[in-house]
């Protein structure tokens, strides 16, 4: 029983780290990993989703519906930003960094000015359960399930739907896709919107467990970029294994030596991976296959 309890505790921690990495990174995996737009406003999409979720719960909606509102709101904001700003900068990646960074500053400071420095959260739903020597939050299991569902859904969208095929074609060879009658402008716009909506979903899912402040997006940013860089360009083949590897390393080191060691070991792992596999895990998998 003791071993079982310890094993479950470790698996729970790996799952928890994995969920955080997958959900932080999934939106960015599309916008940065696939489309190549270095989106420094990713954290602010997450913040947008979280704030809308909390306001929706306050307005009386049940939490799942509120999270859907947050997701939708972030998606709409993403589409608007694509139309107004990002669209004009696809051929100028460095300028995109400046533009999205500016957007992130405006969003953080705008929220601080308009909505104040802090906001009361909604409280974690569900309760706790006990297994062996430890008690756990049930909501964390929901987060793990959400991470898996997001990965599966992304796989299905990009591999089984017409939109997904068009999106991949547009991003790989835009001119050829255009010649074959794909509306590439629309595809870019929708793909960016999908990435932003996923960030909003992450914000909505984590909103009940965190402090609601304008800078809350920043605590996702490091994990998001790290996972995408380790994962490489493919959303499904990259993000999932990258989050797995980093999640195991982070959970093991945090359990053994505390939070600081967890953070350090994760960053060291990233340095090693990008030194050995410059195009990330998905690049390596695809090369092995091909």
């Amino acid at each position: 029983m003791e071993i079982l309890s310890a094993l479950f505790a470790f698996l729970y921690q790996v799952g928890d780290a994995l969920a955080f990495l997958v959900l932080s990174a999934c939106g960015l995996a599309i916008i940065f990993g696939m489309m190549g737009v270095i989106n420094l406003a990713h954290g602010e999409f997450i913040m947008c989703g979280a704030y809308v979720t909390v306001y929706a719960v306050r307005a009386g909606l049940p939490l799942p519906l509120a999270i859907a509102c947050g997701t939708l709101a972030a998606g709409v904001v993403g589409i608007l930003l694509e139309l107004l700003v990002v669209r004009h900068l696809y051929s100028r990646p460095l300028d995109t960094i400046v533009a999205t960074w500016g957007i992130s500053l405006i969003a953080t400071q705008g929220v601080l000015i308009l909505l104040g420095s802090t906001m009361r959260g909604v409280g974690t739903p569900l309760s706790s359960f006990t297994f062996g020597a430890y008690s756990y939050s049930q909501y964390r299991l929901v987060l793990m399930a959400a991470a898996v569902i997001v990965l599966v859904a992304l796989y299905l969208i990009f591999n089984k739907t017409r939109f997904g095929v068009h999106a991949r074609a547009t991003i790989q060879v835009p001119h050829m896709a255009e010649a074959l009658g794909v509306n590439t402008r629309l595809i870019y716009c929708l793909t960016f919107g999908l990435g932003a909506a996923l960030a909003g979903l992450t914000g909505g899912l984590y909103a009940p467990t965190m402090t609601m402040v304008p800078t809350m997006g920043a605590s996702f940013i490091m994990e998001a970029f790290v996972t995408v860089v380790v994962g490489g360009a493919d959303v499904f083949l990259g993000t999932a294994p990258a989050a797995m590897v980093l999640g195991v390393i982070k959970a093991a080191m945090t359990s053994w030596q505390g939070q600081l060691a967890g953070q350090i070991s994760m960053l060291i792992a990233v340095i090693i991976v990008i030194r050995v596999l410059p195009s990330g895990i998905s690049g390596w998998i695809l090369r092995e296959r091909g």
Binding site: R120, T124, Y134, S137, T211, S219, T254
Partner: protein
């Protein structure tokens, strides 16, 4: 803080707007006004706890200006936003001392920021008020500290909690000078009272996920948790610990009194939290109630009046008294007044006096207990707790100025 370049752009904006504001306002009294520099984090990681400090300074300055100023001279505030960024503190401290030529500076939230600007205050021989509770030990003639220190907060709180809940203590603390030195104080006081440290973990600033930490705590089953977490990201701990059904009584020197977590989180995530603070808006005395009413008349949307807000407010009155008695804003003349040992004001918390040896403030310490519905009760109040440690350990600013920070394991040199 995590992204210093990010601050630069906003800083330029706020400086530009301040420059406009200050050129617009140059009436006749400006020549003889007492200029007070205010460097506080009005944006970034620490903004939630620091915005009320600026308001406290503005409120006190308004009141004094309406009543005729400091010895007939108006107070002029020079306010900059330091954006929770240590390099901004250094730039702006040079700016207020060199260009704006202020008489005194009220500056700093995090201990990292204080240690970043302190050498600059020393270099230009300025005078700075640090109105924040902190880990203690700064023995510097250029600094006046009105916040509470560990001997005021921990030597009251920890013995009380150990008597009530048990002897096994676990500390989680923010991983920078404040958390490290505060944890050292906890270790020492727990040992002195016959307790046992069963765990200690330092959390990097900005970390927001605590699942593994919560499990580490459950593994050793402490009687008391000391939570010395700083910043809004780390505050997520309480929500997550409550969700995992971790119900160990908590103690802290920074929560509630500084970050008003009991107002920001859904009950009961902060239930059973115990904090020693020199002021919070729930303090139930006529002076405190009048203060809260006055505050809300000027700032109706203030989310909370925390201990730092009250410190900043009464610090202006302390400074007023020092200048009026010294007949000058000259630092050495002001220190001559402090050396008399009777610089005291009646603050909303009660009587506050400046100790000449350490230039720290004595305080009324309230033990605030958070209930399941996040209401506050005060099971114990200690009157007139002095910042004794530095003086007893050998810091005497009336005799020499080492301009150093000391800790229990690194006390001032004897003799």
């Amino acid at each position: 803080m995590s992204c210093p370049i990010r601050g630069r752009f906003l800083g330029a904006l706020s400086i530009a707007s301040l420059a406009l504001a200050s050129t617009a306002a140059t009436p006749a009294w400006a020549q003889s006004a007492v200029k007070i520099g205010v460097l506080e984090d009005q944006s970034g990681e620490f903004a939630a706890a620091t915005l009320p400090k600026v308001h406290g300074i503005e409120l006190a300055a308004d009141e004094i200006n309406k009543a005729g100023g400091i010895a007939g001279r108006k107070i002029e505030l020079v306010v900059y936003d330091t954006q929770s960024d240590n390099t901004r503190y250094q730039e702006l401290m040079r700016r207020v001392l060199q260009r704006d030529k202020v008489d005194v500076v009220f500056a700093g939230f995090s201990s990292a920021s204080r240690e970043a600007y302190r050498p600059i205050v020393n270099q230009f021989n300025g005078l700075a008020f640090y109105n924040n509770q902190y880990e203690g030990g700064v023995c510097d003639a250029n600094m006046i500290v009105t916040g509470a220190v560990p001997e005021q907060q921990f030597s009251t709180l920890i013995p009380w909690m150990m008597e009530k809940f048990g002897k096994k203590v676990y500390t989680i603390a923010a991983d920078y000078n404040f958390g490290q030195i505060s944890a050292e104080w906890v270790r020492q006081i727990v040992k002195e009272n016959g307790g046992e440290m069963v765990g200690e973990e330092f959390i990097p600033l900005g970390v927001s996920q605590f699942s593994q930490t919560i499990q580490n705590i459950q593994r050793v089953k402490p009687d008391i948790m000391m939570t010395l977490l700083v910043g809004t990201a780390q505050a997520s701990y309480y929500e997550q610990a409550a969700a995992a059904n971790l119900k160990v009584p908590m103690g802290s020197s920074v929560n509630v009194g500084q970050g008003y977590e009991h107002k920001r989180f859904t009950p009961p995530s902060l239930a059973n939290m115990h904090v020693t603070t020199n002021y919070i808006e729930e303090v139930d005395t006529p002076e405190s109630k009048a203060f809260v009413t006055k505050w809300h008349a000027k700032y109706p949307n203030e989310p909370y009046i925390n201990q730092e807000a009250e410190n900043s407010y009464h610090a202006i009155y302390l400074y007023k008294q020092m200048v009026e008695r010294a007949g000058s804003t000259d630092r050495e003349k002001i220190r001559g007044v402090i050396a008399k040992g009777d610089v005291c004001v009646d603050a909303p918390e009660g009587k506050v006096c400046i100790d000449p040896k350490s230039q720290h403030a004595s305080h009324t310490i309230y033990l605030a207990q958070v209930g399941a519905d996040h209401s506050i009760s005060f099971p114990k109040v200690w009157n007139d707790i002095k910042p004794y440690w530095l003086g007893e350990a050998g810091c005497d600013l009336t005799k020499s100025d080492p301009s150093a920070q000391y800790t229990p394991s690194n006390p001032p040199p004897k003799g």
